[in-house]
Assembly symmetry: C2
């Protein structure tokens, strides 16, 4: 990884046009072709960047990064006034990040414990297919079928998504009365409101609790 600290001005033209007036910034060039321009503030995001694959052309006072072609051409021009530091560090790209607690994990926990959503509820199948994509969980109880959409955060979009699924599901024979439920770890008020209007149930759950229903939690902890 190459780290350049330099006084520079940056122009980008592609999906939008942007100008970054002259100032001292960090230029990060990764070995995969990524180039990022970071200022000392502004948090997470680079002020400008280009993701791989890129074509990089460098001269004494200019670094030009390009990507795509024709109408999709993107171009990042870094005009360097003064270089304050320019170092390269060898870094074998380490192992991948291991995550736990993403939507997939929530879906698995619910597939294991559907009764947490409603008494007597059982899993029919995960990823129940529809023409526009799979519903996370198809369940059933004495009252009939229940299509469950799982999210980490319940939003209006999730309600819309489930609504579209239900349209197709209810067109199937034997599923005309299939109900819908949006399950999330946190629920936006407006999502709940829209869900009520659509006759869709909402439910908030806790991943750790769900797992506790099954077995002692066996996951990643802080040391």
């Amino acid at each position: 990884m190459r780290l350049i600290v330099a006084h520079c001005e940056v122009h980008y033209r592609g999906r939008v046009s942007s100008v970054l007036p002259p100032a001292v910034r960090l230029l990060m060039c990764k070995s995969d072709g990524s180039v990022m321009v970071h200022s000392d503030a502004g948090g997470y995001k680079p002020q400008n960047w280009m993701t791989p694959p890129t074509r990089i052309e460098e001269s004494a006072e200019r670094i030009v990064v390009e990507k795509g072609s024709g109408k999709a051409l993107e171009r990042l021009e870094i005009h360097i006034t003064e270089i304050l530091s320019d170092v390269t560090h060898a870094m074998d790209e380490g192992p991948r990040l291991e995550k736990d607690g993403v939507e997939r994990d929530l879906q698995e926990a619910l597939a294991d414990s559907p009764q947490a959503l409603a008494e007597g509820l059982r899993l029919v199948r995960r990823e129940y297919p529809t023409p526009i994509g799979p519903v996370d969980l198809m369940c059933a109880d004495a009252d009939g079928y229940l299509a469950v959409e799982v999210k980490r955060v319940g939003t209006i979009d999730a309600v819309e998504q489930l609504t579209r699924y239900l349209e197709y599901i209810r067109a199937e024979r034997g599923l005309e009365t299939c109900r819908g439920m949006l399950v999330a770890e946190s629920m936006k008020p407006q999502a709940r409101t829209l869900a009520v209007a659509r006759g869709i149930d909402t439910r908030t759950v806790d991943l750790a609790e769900l797992r506790g229903l099954r077995e002692p939690e066996l996951t990643l902890f802080m040391p």
Copy 2:
């Protein structure tokens, strides 16, 4: 800005749990409290990070970054095995990025030239309010009213959004027959399909052309 290159292991616990096995990485600490862990590949995103406001606690072999409290507590622990480099660079935070070509600019151009969407179309008002948020443009011609949703990229979500707006608009007196149009610089085929099914018009436009209708383009160029 402080740049540390170190062999380290990182644990995050908060919105999810994650473990980053030991390897050589770049630790970027900005003066606003941001902390990012970058590997040499993986493009744009840091492998781990914490956005401000943060509480940072540092000892010889450990950097702990915390944020929030109670249920919303997030904690990033960086265990350092070996420091290969540790430098700090003074950087006055430069001026903001100036952008052109974002959705706002498109909306302004269309507000100036509604006739580009349909002959004889005139603007009634921008940001026409509904109970669930404002419609970008409310226009009218001899055939009646037209609600216009403006996007840079036309997607299914945009069609859904406009559909919701139209529901409320058509509930108003005098607007029962209001039509809808999705305008974008590029349109996803599936968005077009859904729009047709909903009786919503779609239209692609070019920002530079729109501006050309009014006056010679006066905007940001690459040098």
